[in-house]
Symmetry: C2
Subunit: 108 residues, 2 copies
């Protein structure tokens, strides 16, 4: 299922990463982070995909306001620091904060 976001404008946080050789604990962390995001103020939805054969991961989360996205960044980084996951799982990562001003789609 794709995230069912309201009409724009809203914020998208685009997280991309290249996996390293050791993904131990990664799946559990993704499940936990998603549950955590859903509890945050202004959370509108999240889409995630990662190639099973290594490759790259993309997670896009959607937020009502820039402040909501910034608050999620603080929560997520605090939790990741506790787990010390990012350094182990990823060879490299990139975070982009973006203002969505148009959206369209199709299908069921």
């Amino acid at each position: 299922m794709l995230a069912a976001t309201p009409d724009p404008p809203y914020i998208a946080v685009i997280f991309t990463a290249v996996f390293g050789p050791d993904a131990t604990g990664y799946d559990d962390a993704v499940t936990e982070m998603r549950a955590l995001a859903e509890q945050q103020p202004g959370f509108l939805g999240m889409d995630a995909a990662s190639a099973d054969d290594g490759g790259i991961e993309i997670t896009v989360s959607y937020w009502a306001t820039p402040d909501d996205a910034a608050a999620w960044k603080d929560v997520a980084e605090h939790r990741e620091a506790q787990r010390a996951g990012r350094e182990r799982w990823y060879d490299s990562y990139q975070v982009r904060i973006a203002h969505v001003d148009r959206a369209y789609g199709g299908g069921t």
Copy 2:
């Protein structure tokens, strides 16, 4: 490898989709569309990930200006119409046009 984009601002086109049961020809089309995108004016990069077990696909392409992104939309839709791929491959899809105004990352 992740897309190596310049400093913001730039445009991100976030494409998300749920695969249907028939993905015949999909991989070839992705390769072709990526080669096509790289030839377009204002192309800055592209990140793509799709779960091998079905699930969802996310492709984010980055463009210098809104006009560049709009021109790519026309080119991509024309090519997809020629291949009649979208209707067969996807149960549903969503396209979001976003202005990236901040980016940061880490790793190698």
